[in-house]
Amino acid sequence: MSTLQTIQRMIAEQFELKPEDLVPEATLESLGLDSLSVIEFMFNIEDEFKIKLSNELLENIKTLQDVVDIIEKQVAEQHGKAE
């Protein structure tokens, strides 16, 4: 499963949204995720991908694609380091 597919599944499940609305260019705001929802979502992402997301990283997230990019970068950096 790609990173995008994983987060689509997670968002659909956590926020009871329709998977077809979860296109990469959709902004989190347009999906109805307010700042608190984003914080909760990032918490679950940290669990799912076994990474840590700093507050600075979160500031630049607008769309689902941004989320995918940040996850993939952090997975590479943080897991690369560990191994």
Binding site: E16, M42, F43
Partner: protein, 411 residues
Amino acid sequence: MSRRVVITGLGVISSVGKSPDEFFASLMAGRSGIRRLQAPFADKLDIRIAANVPDYNPADYFSKVKLSGIERVSQFALIAGAQAVADAGLEIAEEEQTRAGVTLGTGLGGATTLEEGYEQVFLRGDPRIKPLSVLLSMNNAAASHLSLTYKLQGANVTYSTACASSAIAIGEAYRQIKHGYADVMLAGGSEALLTFGAMKAWEALRTLATEDPNDPGASCKPFSKDRNGLVLGEGAAVLVLEDAERAVARGAKIYAELVGYDCSSDASHITKPDSAGQTRAMRSALRDAGLQPADIGYINAHGTATQAGDIEETRAIKAVFGEHAKVPVSSTKSMHGHVMGATGAVEFMAAVLALHHQAIPPTINLHQPDPECDLDYVPNQGRRDVPLDAVMSNSFAFGGTNAVLIARKFA
């Protein structure tokens, strides 16, 4: 400015009922909501009985998305609040929103969240806890969710005065309307503290009733010689209070008028109740109501079923109502348990429903008369068709706060 304040809506979720009708029917039937707690930690408790909300499934009331931001104590408040608003047929126009508010009482607030968080960091060494823990556990969360849901833009205040919290919340809401600061208030209390840590803390204080060997439901025995303590409960009760003119103008159903309230502090001991402070609160509430003791047809007692507490309250009632007072006094805690921060609201609602139905709920499990508790406690059997014009509800708290509310038939 002094305006009349009426009660136009009721809502409750408790161990004995999830609506005012079910709640009052249980009380009149003498049905106890006290039972052996089924919880993962129950076998580590010395005292396993509690008055929990039975068969409670949050998903019956809230969407999954909503639930992640609303903890048990707020869920109860929202459920009771929704009932009360619907019961009152309350609509708050946009221009009225700043004249509408909410006051709630709670003792421990979001106890479940706090305990889960502590368990994670202290026991499991998790580096993180739930991201919304602060917002879930803060004491004013329940009131704030009511404010958000109904766009109440006036006062949004949470009172935490232990067992008197929600009686104070109702009394202060009454003053908001009486003195012209608001036209409509949601007022009540919510409590959800049947958690492992909280129950252990109460065990340690040695004020909890032990389980009745024959019937766990009969463990709380207010005013009975064999009483040995209180039983923890959970739930919420919310009332709609309204400026009488507004309520009459819109043709609202009016349960009763809230005519009297006051509070006092014992200032004598952190836990030991003091009839002098209780007496002052009752007298002062009567004065506020412009009523004489003889006008009160029923008192819903604080009646926790501790040895000292029931004697002291009896003394206080005698001081106000006379040594040979005939006024019926009952402790419905014998059925719904001690709902702590919500108990004042739950019990005031019982008193308002008693007035509404002209029926007095009993004190159950009262089988051994105590010479030091010699009032009419309506033992074991409720009474119907009692002409009631005014009723009183007492709430006396750890910390010394005493709060008394008086409701009267609206005429």
